[in-house]
Amino acid sequence: MQGSATTTVGKARLQIRRNIGGLACYLGIWAFLAIFLIYPLIRLFYDAFTTYEDTFTFMNFYDFFTDSFYLKSLVNSLLLGVGTVITTSLIGIPFAFLLLRYDFPGRNLFSYLSIVPMIMPPLVGVMGFVFIMGRAGTVNVILMDYFGFTKPVNFMYGIHGVLIVETLHLFPLMTLSIVDAMGKISPSLDEAAESVGSRGLRKFWDITFPLTTPGYVSGALLVFIWTFADFATPLVVGIDDLLASQAYLNIVQFVDRRLFKMGIVISAIMILLAILFLIVAKRYVAMKDYSSLSYSMIERKSLSRSGKVGVVVFLSSVLILAFIPYLGIVLDSFGKGWALTPIPVKYTLQYFQRVSIETPKFILNSLLYSGITVMICIVIGVPIAWVMARTKLPGRDLLDSLTTLILALPGTGIGIAYLRAFREPLPFFETALIGMWVVVPLVLGVRRLPYTVRGTFASLQIVHRSFEEAAESVGAGKPATFRDVTLPLIWKGVLVGSLYSFILALQEASATLLLVVPGHEMMPVGIFNFYMGGSVNEAAALGLILIVLGATCLFAINKITGARAGGVFG
């Protein structure tokens, strides 16, 4: 009797201790988010609303909204974002629809290739396009040398060039989101519609499209934000009347303190806008939340002969366009002194030698920092996903909102926020956090957290609660249950989410460009520095290495998930 009572008490005590341990972890996660996400943002807004003398003011915003150039930049940015959403929709939706609903030769290959354009690192895409489509690019050289054109056709220099680059870079985001959403539509709904005579376009508008809306909205939001936050592409084609470009240009020139302040204000405005769009999108998606939907096998229709040809031609031509920059990058990374000829006349390996053997730091740092980033993502992200999926702890809704918010935050804004927040020397250290290389994996960890959280969350939802309950009923504690039951079932989701975090950490340049510590540059920063330093070939070589790394990761994801990997982006 007595013995059993002691055990019960002991168990209860153990339970309490576990709960305390769990709670401490939970608080740890919150502390991490508070320090590395919330505080920098607050600091940025504080700076935007104060003068250098720390007095509260609206003048900074007044200056912004009365300056016609900034207003024009704001309008241009919004228009460019909307324009890119439209063009990526026009390409991405049919792409997703065809891949999902129809059978045609090479479907799996197309499915894999359609994601590849997304792994184009910033700056590299536009460089590649200029090599092929620029004023002295392959196409124009051929037109002038063989077709008697006296002037080059202007494909790239101007806002239309930015639109082309963004569209062909980002349409996979749209495709992925749509594939994910459409994949959840039960075929029975289709059948029901058909049984009452709804077919073709009518059925698409009445059934398929509304059900796909949540996925579409999140895809559209991502496309919008990426375009909105990109400053590298416009700069290459000589456009600077965009918000992101102005934020970057103003902040990197420290001399004119007024412009510097303006850089802070612009990034604050960009972040506010991102939050606003997020709220609007959330509201819209929540209205149409079809929680009853579940994944189901979709029967693919086969096409007529001409239909097959048409589909393959359409998909191939989009992909050929999307792969133009890859061609440009390959040619320029091997070609020496390439100017005014369709393809380089001399070839060399010297650029690869310079960026990989002579200065291996770019590649090594990239792998190291992205590795640490993934660790941060797992250590922080998996528990967050678990809390969201399995507990009713207070604050979990806020956690959800915060992780979604991170997706929407423009990298330039985060980078500037960190610059302002962590510039004072740390206690016990002589340097400030922004003077240490760890700031890069930290900011990357925060920026790429959502992918791990979402990957894990999606897997957790598929694992039925009853498995865990069964384990707990035979006495396994929560950690043991997690380790022995849940983890083996969800590791794929965690891995895929982490791989996405890894790829995107490898490629990130907007926040890290502002934060990188000299001597600790990673590949995207190297690309930027080489490009800005006039060593375009080296930039291309480094870009190609980065593309190959990204494609390898993507291939691995593809193998693990069997070609279906949309959820992490929603």
Partner: protein, 375 residues
């Protein structure tokens, strides 16, 4: 457990990386520059310094450069507030160095008296351009003109010849000129000042507006100008430092250089930052650069020696001879009459710099589309 292990690894990695060498050596084994001088020049020079240090002291020096445009570098140094993450500031305008010295952010140069004296105090007429700081806070390292570059094949196709500034206003060059805005590039800024001081404020801006009418792109940084010209994207580059374009020649591209009347000339000043983490390496680096070995090295890169003692000269086919051909036969700035209208006292004032940049931004870049349409 795993978390703990990961944390341990992280912390030890952190300590390892923050822990610099503190042994008493003739120079430290690290050296960092912050510089607008492009990679084409700072890379080979840093590499040569590493070799030099290995030979002289048997010390391997880990070097790196933070590439920043002059105004940005200057602002960054102010931002560091005497706790710099770099040892040396290299390049840009002497007045910015004077500013930094006045704010106590520079250390005095430590060069042997003889070496110091060999560098002339100034060059050029009617306005003499200082080549070193009389107070000793900075020293010129090489002479470098900011002029015009062009892609010969494209220019021939357009049927245009370029000998001096005014040739850039030829309507045949519409959309063919690449330049950088003055707030992003000190070479553009200086060249614009040359135009303003040649023609006077109003006529100068009228000239620059006509130039804008021919301009096809305002690049993100000055180093992009020679890149896009070398590539053939644009035919002509405005306000380009000679070495930047010469780097393209060394890279296998076809570019030619014009040294126009009164073109801006810079001694590329160099200074050691106050509180530099590696001061001894920094001083050793400066001494190396102005030595015969250092000057010989830079003369292969499309710039000119800082003293009359050395000339750009080498065996046939050498980089030196290529550089001489590229600039139309020049071997030393001390052989030719050097015109200079650029007045540091006028142009170097902070207020004037901001005024020029703001005017350019308001009247040229923001109205560029309209200017192109009108002309």
């Amino acid at each position: 457990m795993r978390k703990v292990r990961i944390l341990t690894v992280l912390i030890s990695a952190l300590i390892f990386c923050c822990w610099g060498s503190v042994q008493a050596q003739p120079i430290e084994n690290e050296l960092y520059l912050i510089t607008p001088v492009s990679k084409d020049v700072h890379d080979p020079v840093l590499k040569a310094f590493d070799e030099y240090a290995r030979k002289k002291w048997n010390i391997q020096v880990k070097t790196s450069a933070i590439p920043k445009g002059t105004p940005v570098a200057y602002g960054q140094i102010l931002e560091w507030k005497g706790n710099p993450q770099a040892d040396i500031f290299w390049g840009g305008e002497g007045t910015l160095f004077d500013d930094l010295a006045a704010q106590g952010l520079l250390e005095k140069i430590q060069l042997p008296q003889k070496t110091w004296d060999e560098i002339p105090a100034s060059i050029g007429k009617p306005v003499p351009l200082p080549l070193k700081d009389p107070k000793g806070f900075w020293v010129g390292t090489m002479l470098e003109p900011y002029g015009i570059i062009y892609q010969p094949k494209l220019l021939k196709r357009l049927g245009v010849e370029i000998k001096d500034w005014d040739d850039l206003l030829n309507p045949k060059l519409k959309g063919q000129i690449a330049q950088c805005t003055p707030d992003r590039s000190s070479s553009s800024h200086a060249t614009i000042e040359v135009i303003l001081q040649t023609h006077g404020w109003d006529k100068g801006w009228a000239w620059l507006t006509r130039l804008a009418a021919n301009t096809g792109i305002f690049t993100a940084r000055s180093r992009d100008v020679p890149s896009v010209v070398a590539k053939g994207e644009f035919a002509v580059g405005f306000g380009v430092p000679s070495y930047m374009a010469f780097a393209e020649v060394l890279g296998g591209y076809d570019v030619m250089y014009v040294y126009p009347t009164n073109a801006y000339l810079t001694p590329e000043p160099m200074a050691v930052l106050k509180g530099a983490p590696h001061p001894r390496a920094a001083h050793a680096f400066i001494e190396f650069l102005v030595s015969e070995e250092g000057q010989k090295l830079v003369s292969q890169l499309g710039v000119y020696p800082i003293t009359a003692k050395y000339k750009v000269q080498g065996p046939p086919g050498s980089n030196q001879e290529k550089a001489v051909a590229f600039t139309g036969g020049m071997r030393s700035f001390f052989d030719i009459p050097v015109g200079n209208v650029y007045d540091v006292k006028l142009a170097g004032e902070k207020k004037r710099i901001e005024e020029v940049n703001a005017y350019f931004r308001k009247e040229i870049t923001e109205k560029h589309k309209d200017i192109v349409k009108e002309k």
